[in-house]
Symmetry: C2
Subunit: 333 residues, 2 copies
C-alpha cells in the first residue's frame, strides 16, 4: 500500500541505491538529484518501513522494558522517566508487563529480543543462575532494576535493607516498646515483587538485633489488619514498619474505626513514597526509593552498553549501581 524505495526509484528514474543515498545523506550524490528525490519522496509521503530497516541493519532503535504492572505508582513513574530519556536519545520504547508471573516475564523478554530491541530494562520476579543463563541467551544488553538477579547482570537500585534499617532505627530512637514489621506473605505466588520485600525483611531482622530490649515480630499475612488490631489492644507503645505505603494506609484507615490515630496511639512508617500520600493526613513517614534516579541511571547504563556492544559480545562486566534511599519524615512515627 505505502510507497517504497523501489517505487521512488521508478518515479525518479534512478536506482534504489541512489534513492537510499538521497534519503540517508550518505555517500556521494549530486545535489540536484538529491533535491529532486527528496521532493518526490515528500510529495508521495514516503516513509521507510521500520521492520525492513531493522532487519537489514540488525538494529531497531528501540529498547524494551519489562515491569510488573503499570498501575503500580512506582513502575508508572519509572516508565515515564525511561520513556522521556529514551525519546531524547532518538529511541522508541516498547513497554510490556509480566504481572508478577515468571513465565510471562520470560515470554515478554523473548518476544522483545526476537523483535531485536537494542536493549532491555527489566524489573524481574526471577532470580538465580539459571535465570542468568536465560537472560544471556537473549544476546541483548540488559539492565535489571529493583531486583539483583545474579552476579554479572547489571543492576540499579537502592539498598532495601539499609532503608528498612533506618526506619527501624528511627522507631527505636523514639522509644517504642514494640517494633513490628508488616509485609505480605513471602511464600505464596502472589502478584508482588517478592525480592524487595524479602530484602526489607532481612533489613528489619538485622537492625532489630541491635536492640536487645526489643523482640523481632513480623506480620506476614493478608489478615494483617486484624493482627495489628490485636497487637494494639495489648496496650504497649508500638510502631509498625510497613514494607509498602499501601499497607500503612490500609492500617491507618482501619484504625480510624477504632479511634486510634498515629502517632499518638501507635507509630507507623511506609515505603515507596507513592503520590497518594500527598492527600492523606496525618502525613505518613516513609522511605523514598528514588525511582527517578534509578530509572535515569538504568537508561544511562543501558545506553553505555548499547554503544559499547557493537563489537564485543560481553555484558560490560557486572556493573552494579546502588543509589542512596531517602527517609522522609512525616507525622506518623
Amino acid at each position: 500500500m505505502a510507497i517504497t524505495t523501489k517505487d521512488l526509484a521508478q518515479l525518479c528514474g534512478v536506482s534504489r541505491t541512489t534513492i537510499h543515498r538521497a534519503l540517508n545523506g550518505t555517500g556521494r550524490i549530486k545535489p540536484e538529484t538529491k533535491e529532486m528525490i527528496l521532493q518526490v519522496a515528500k510529495e508521495h509521503g514516503y516513509r521507510p518501513d521500520l521492520l525492513a530497516t531493522g532487519l537489514a541493519k540488525g538494529q531497531t532503535y528501540n529498547i524494551g522494558v519489562v515491569v510488573l504492572d503499570v498501575k503500580n505508582r512506582y513502575f508508572a513513574q519509572m516508565l515515564s522517566t525511561i520513556s522521556t530519556e529514551a525519546y531524547a536519545r532518538g529511541y522508541g520504547v516498547n513497554i510490556t508487563l509480566h504481572g508478577g508471573d515468571a513465565g510471562t516475564e520470560r515470554e515478554q523478554l523473548t518476544r522483545l529480543a526476537d523483535y531485536r530491541v537494542d536493549g532491555i530494562i527489566l524489573s524481574s520476579v526471577n532470580e538465580g543462575e539459571a535465570y542468568r543463563t536465560f537472560l544471556e541467551s537473549l544476546h541483548r544488553p540488559i539492565v535489571s532494576v529493583d531486583n539483583r538477579i545474579a552476579d554479572g547482570i547489571p543492576f540499579v537500585g537502592i539498598d532495601q535493607r539499609a532503608a528498612v534499617r533506618e526506619a527501624v532505627q528511627r522507631a527505636a530512637e523514639k522509644g517504642y516498646e514494640r517494633i513490628v514489621f508488616v509485609c505480605p506473605p513471602l511464600d505464596t505466588k502472589n502478584r508482588q515483587n517478592l525480592y524487595v520485600h524479602k530484602e526489607r525483611l532481612l533489613g528489619y531482622e538485622e537492625e532489630m538485633k541491635r536492640y536487645p530490649a526489643l523482640r523481632p515480630e513480623c506480620i506476614l499475612s493478608w489478615d494483617y489488619l486484624q493482627k495489628v488490631d490485636a497487637i494494639l489492644k495489648e496496650g504497649k507503645r508500638t510502631a509498625f514498619v510497613c514494607t509498602a505505603d499501601e499497607y500503612a494506609l490500609e492500617i491507618m484507615k482501619d484504625q480510624k474505626r477504632a479511634k486510634r490515630k498515629a502517632p499518638v496511639d501507635y507509630g507507623i512508617t511506609g515505603f515507596d513514597n507513592i503520590d497518594t500520600l500527598a492527600y492523606v493526613t496525618p502525613q505518613l513517614s516513609t522511605i523514598s526509593n528514588v525511582v527517578d534516579e534509578v530509572a535515569k541511571s538504568a537508561v544511562e547504563m543501558l545506553f553505555a552498553m548499547i554503544d559499547a556492544e557493537p563489537e564485543v559480545e560481553q555484558m560490560t562486566g557486572d556493573s552494579q549501581r546502588i543509589l542512596p534511599h531517602r527517609y522522609l519524615e512525616g507525622e506518623t512515627l
Copy 2:
C-alpha cells in the same frame, strides 16, 4: 548470532521450506521429519526472527497504544486492561506516550504504523478533519478513546457532558445556593487532555440553564485554591463540581487549613474515581468513567476491525460506542 531456518535446513539436511512447514505445522510433511526438525530446533534454541516474519507476512501481531501519560491513574488502568486483553488474543502491545504534545503524538503514531502494528488505540490531543486525514494516511485500523476526533474515526468513551450534568443536578437537588465549576485553563497549552474538560464544561453550562435561581460560575485557572477560598468566605452554601479528582482533593486539603470541611462547610464532587480516593476521608463523591469497560470495548472494536480489514481498505464506517458513566455517592456533597 542466533540460529536461523537456513542453519536448521543445513543441520537437518532438508530445505528451508520443509523447516518452515515443520515449525508452523502447515502443509503436508512426514511426521518423522517433523519430529526430527522440531528436535533439532529445540536443541539449538531456535526462535523465529519477528522482524523478518512481520516483513514477510505483512502482519506483526502487535497493536500500538498511544496515550498521554502513564502516571495518570486513568491511563494506567486503561493500559493494564488493554495489555491483558491483547495478550489473551496472542497479541503484543507497544505502549507509547505523547505527553500532551500534538507533534509527539503524530510522531508516535507514525512510528507505530511504520513498525506495522496491526492496529492502534489512541487517546488523542488532536482533533478535526485535518487530523482525520492524517490518521487515515496511516492505513491502519485505529480506535480512539476519550476524545472524539472526527466523524468516521471509531470511538469509545463516556458521555462527559451527561456525567457532569448529573453531578450538577445532584448538587442542585441538595439545595446549594451556588454551584461552581472547577477546571484547569482550557486555552493554554498545558499537559492535559483538554477535550474531555471542554466537554465537561459544556455539560455544566447546559445543566445550569435548568436552574434559573443559580448563576453559572466557573473557575478556570491554576490559582483555583485561592478563588475557592474567596468564594467560601462569602458564606453562601456552595458546591464545587470539579473536572478531576485531583483538584477536588487539593481543595479539600487546602480547606482543612481553614478548618472548613465537606460536606458541612461546602459541597464538592470529583471526576474519574482514582484509587487514591480509597484512602481519603471524607469519602469524595465522584464520577466513574468506567475505564475498564472503555478499554475492553476499545480492544474488542479494534480486533473486529483487524479481523475484518484484510480484504477491504475501510474503517468499518463510523462506529461509536458511548458507555454509561456512574455517579458514585460519597460523603462530600
